[in-house]
């Protein structure tokens, strides 16, 4: 295969060469790109190519050997346990509404009711008299699975008004329609709020949706960003994953609005 790495460790740990291909989650791809760049600086004979395409593609490619490493913004499912996942960062999923929306808090039940179309006016949950536009994600998306899992509902019971793909799609949709509600990666939302996009993160229960609360583990709807390999990754892949999990990249993780994972875990897990 053209993507197989020929990474080999020569002269000890510090001379690596070869090419690594990563594919998968569009959430992880920007972070992986930045880490790869730093890794290439440290190991000038190594090329790390980061491709995108979605978590599902990452997992499939890793399994088929099309990619050395897959990226996924979700946990592996039971039928994927032939693969190994390596956490490199954490992320939370928070509910967003338009900035002008006065609603200050939603209970889990209210969220479920809204997403199942049993509640469809903001005035019923402490807002203005405005219809609720429900922004939902497409089947298979990692954020969607986390969201459904947290609310403990089945996807077919959801009655959405808009289905979006990527996080920014959700953000732009909510920013463009006053009565809408959606859910996105908290990091994304924070970055956009910082950039002046008119959206607001809603607390979940009474817990503020913020990367800080994801980091300290209090925010309930959190997820891990993973790198996926077969049971025996190549030495170069292993070295890269190790690097991704090291504190050397924590600044990069933060700059991409994710939460570094505190303890350095072992590559082999």
């Amino acid at each position: 295969g053209r993507n197989t790495s020929v990474g080999q460790i020569q002269n000890g740990q510090h001379h690596l060469e070869g090419r690594l291909t990563l594919t998968g989650s569009s959430t992880v791809a920007p972070l992986a790109t930045e880490i790869a760049k730093r890794f290439e600086e440290r190991h000038p004979s190594v090329r790390v190519d980061v491709q995108t395409g979605g978590s599902g593609k990452g997992i499939t490619d890793a399994r088929m050997g099309v990619a050395d490493i897959g990226m996924a913004s979700r946990e592996l499912k039971p039928d994927e346990n032939d693969l190994v996942s390596h956490q490199i960062a954490a992320d939370g999923v928070g509910l967003i509404v338009h900035k002008s929306n006065p609603c200050s808090e939603l209970s889990t039940d209210q969220i479920v009711a809204i997403y199942q179309d049993r509640l469809n006016n903001w005035k019923d949950v402490g807002g203005e008299d405005q219809e609720i536009t429900v922004v939902h994600k497409a089947e298979g998306r990692a954020t969607l699975e986390l969201f459904l899992h947290y609310l403990d509902i089945e996807n077919p019971t959801v009655k959405a008004d808009v289905i979006v793909g990527d996080n920014e799609h959700a953000v732009k949709t909510v920013a463009g329609a006053k009565g809408s509600i959606g859910y996105v990666s908290i990091g994304t939302a924070e970055a956009d709020i910082e950039a002046g996009v008119p959206i607001r993160l809603l607390p979940l229960g009474s817990i503020e949706a913020s990367t800080a609360n994801v980091a300290n583990g209090t925010f309930p709807m959190g997820r891990l960003l993973n790198l996926i390999t077969t049971a025996s990754p190549s030495p170069l892949a292993a070295e890269f994953i190790h690097f991704c999990q090291s504190s050397d990249v924590h600044d990069l993780v933060k700059s991409q609005y994710f939460v570094p994972i505190a303890s350095e875990s072992n590559v082999a897990q």
Binding site: G53, G54, V135, P156, V162, I163, V164, T173, A177
Partner: protein, 281 residues
């Protein structure tokens, strides 16, 4: 025949066949990838299932086929009059200098990425359409955005068809005292209808095939549309939205929607070429 001519003839034939073979390759690829789903699910259930929830084993395509046809046919219905008017404008109504600027602008727009159209639709247009309620992401918005994307195709190809009509006809019409609009409506447009027809056809196939821009503004709910303000999902939007996250069997089902779309296009193309081949009066 000379050796060089023979060489040219053979080369052209071979390359032309190669070009045509690409379609077969694409078809073959789609069939191969969708075979598992067709085998395990069968064709029937794609039309009879209760809804589209592939992870829960429900695979109804019908709303997506309807949305695909609605948005693409609708967009052509908007773009065709505007595009033809624009071609008539630059040939008959605009002063020469303006005509060439007009052409240049339309040419430029032919090259704007669909993402940019989608982005404009999402950020500028949808909030305006949201005044009618909801998020503003619905079939209407998608149709408008699509019509803008295919408009340059219709305008440019109609323009060149009209420009290539024999000048004698136009002089003849003028000599009979036909005014400008009579000349256009009774002579030019009928005489150019084949070329304009194939421009519209190309635009329609283009609209059917467009993915990213529609995905960004259509709302993507899989439901039989009740009005133009209902959100809807197109077949290719469906592929783009779910493919990256699909597991093996789900993936195969998505390829069935690709295959479906190609069948729709083929039927339209063959139907159209049948119609235009019949002698014109």
């Amino acid at each position: 025949m000379l050796r060089s001519d023979l060489l040219l003839k053979v080369a052209c034939r071979v390359l032309a066949i190669a070009a045509a073979a690409i379609v077969l390759l694409v078809f073959g690829f789609l069939v191969r990838e969708s075979a598992p789903a067709l085998r395990s699910i069968g064709l029937f259930r794609f039309f009879t299932d209760a809804s589209w929830h592939p992870l829960s084993g429900e695979f109804n395509f019908t709303p997506m086929i309807v949305a695909t046809l609605l948005t693409s046919v609708g967009s052509v219905c908007i773009a065709a009059p505007l595009g033809i008017a624009s071609a008539v404008f630059s040939n008959f109504y605009a002063p020469t200098w303006l005509a060439s600027w007009h052409r240049r602008l339309v040419e430029l727009l032919a090259g704007i990425p669909s993402v940019v159209f989608g982005l404009w639709g999402l950020v500028v247009l949808a909030p305006l359409v949201a005044a009618f309620g909801g998020s503003g992401q619905n079939l209407l918005t998608a149709t408008i955005v699509l019509s803008l994307m295919v408009l340059p195709t219709i305008a440019l190809l109609s323009d060149s068809t009209i420009a290539s009509l024999p000048r004698e006809w136009i002089l003849g019409a003028a000599a009979l005292g036909l005014d400008r609009w009579d000349t256009v409506s009774r002579l030019v447009l009928p005489a150019a209808r084949r070329g304009i027809g194939s421009a519209v056809m190309l635009a329609l196939t283009r609209a059917l095939g467009e993915t990213m821009a529609v995905l960004m503004v259509a709302g993507n709910i899989v439901e039989m549309p009740r009005s133009v303000l209902s959100p809807g999902r197109t077949l290719n939007g469906n592929i783009a939205l779910e493919l990256g996250y699909a597991s093996a069997s789900h993936r195969s089902v998505l390829f069935v929607s690709g295959l479906m779309l190609m069948l729709v296009v083929s039927v339209l193309v063959v139907g159209f070429s049948r119609r235009t081949r019949s002698p014109v009066g």
